[in-house]
Point group: C2
Chain length 245, copies 2
């Protein structure tokens, strides 16, 4: 049975207030890394609530990486080790729209073939697999915004072979069609050379930001893409606020 209890006074639910309280003590330095925080039963008494409510709060703080829990020993503030941040990788169209510029894309090269040795170096597809190679230029305000060089594993996305990619760019089309379970991104800086410099309309040697993404569905590779952003203007932004739950 549920007894009468006081109404929630302030910012939302009780377990959120517990989270906020503990988080504040950790972030202020009052509870430094390594320090044991009160046991569940102590917090239960302190907040006058059921154990499950405290447990819910602490579980979320574990997920946020602020605390660690060990049976019999207790709950401890984690030692900060490596920072992690959530990197948003938007669709190029959305990215251009966010700048308030008109967007356009065009397929500049297309080739359906059996995977070559070079293809297999980019992406672990079977030697005899059919792949679709696409090069796509994305424009913002009639100027080159980025160049996309993509390889699609046609056994994972057979429909791609017949798709003209008129309405949707290859990336947007794939994200709607093929569910993926794993992705890996690599970000690096390169100098634009030859065809790339030409397509992006920059001088050879111009530094460019490169985002390479591989996507799998289960164990099967789906696509590999290399997006090249010209010049020093483009920025990827990642933010992290610990315990934003």
């Amino acid at each position: 049975m549920t007894e009468a209890r006081e109404p929630r006074p302030e910012g939302g639910s009780l377990h959120r207030r517990i989270i906020a309280d503990i988080e504040a003590r950790i972030l202020s330095g009052e509870w430094p890394p390594g320090r044991r925080i009160p046991f569940e039963h102590e917090l239960t008494a302190q907040y006058g609530c059921a154990r499950m409510t405290v447990s819910k709060a602490l579980t979320q703080l574990v997920a946020a990486g602020l605390i660690e829990r060990r049976r019999k020993a207790g709950t401890f503030v984690t030692q900060p080790h490596s920072q992690s941040a959530v990197l948003e990788i938007p669709d190029v169209k959305a990215e251009v729209a966010a700048l308030g510029l008109p967007y356009r894309f065009a397929i500049v090269a297309r080739s359906k073939r059996r995977a070559t040795r070079a293809d297999r170096a980019r992406f672990a597809v079977a030697a005899d697999a059919w792949v679709l190679a696409l090069t796509c230029r994305h424009d913002a305000a009639q100027r080159p915004f980025c160049l996309e060089d993509r390889l699609i594993n046609l056994s994972a996305a057979p429909d791609a072979a017949e798709e003209p990619f008129v309405e949707l760019s290859p990336g947007a089309w794939l994200v709607r069609r093929v569910p993926w379970t794993r992705a890996e991104h690599r970000i690096s800086a390169v100098a634009a050379r030859g065809d790339v410099a030409l397509a992006l309309n920059v001088a050879s040697g111009t530094p460019c930001l490169v985002v390479e993404r591989r996507t799998w569905s289960g164990e099967a590779p789906v696509t590999q893409v290399r997006v090249i952003y010209p010049g020093e203007a483009h920025e990827l932004v990642a933010r992290f606020t610990p315990g934003q739950s």
Copy 2:
């Protein structure tokens, strides 16, 4: 009272199995974006468990971004919009150690001053605030690995003024001393010029990867740092597996 129930057969707790089941249906495409998934009371019946157990599972799937919940309407598979990935930003020392190379760092410039106009452009510190500007070169195997240009707000970290930064690099020292609540990272590509090219021992114009990080504690700025990695070799890696909870 708790009735007898079957022992947990397979991979862990019941709510984890519920998570795995639903996740599998979403990732396989069986439940496409926008589709309503069973109500809590249906899942409760299906798994023969209490409502709270289902709720716990669904709450975690919300946190993972796989589903959205609307009162009275139900729970729906989210539309994929922008991909997000967790970017690990390790300490430089750990980064070099991971390559199996000997690590060393050296402070190459140090200046304590009141914030200049240029400093305030980098970071929103008060006009009369004391700041510590540091330039630090990190070496791997006796060769320049990256160049760190840092500004520390001395009102947030007063001890930094007297710290020689011999044992720990400024970044490692700060992470241990000053709790931070918010960080923002910007990643871009630039060409090495002048002093930077000299310090990194590369030709002028060499493309470099730049990671700029600003850190706050509450509303107060703590530090701003710009880390420049020379050449085309360095890569930042980010991975994403949806719903790894």
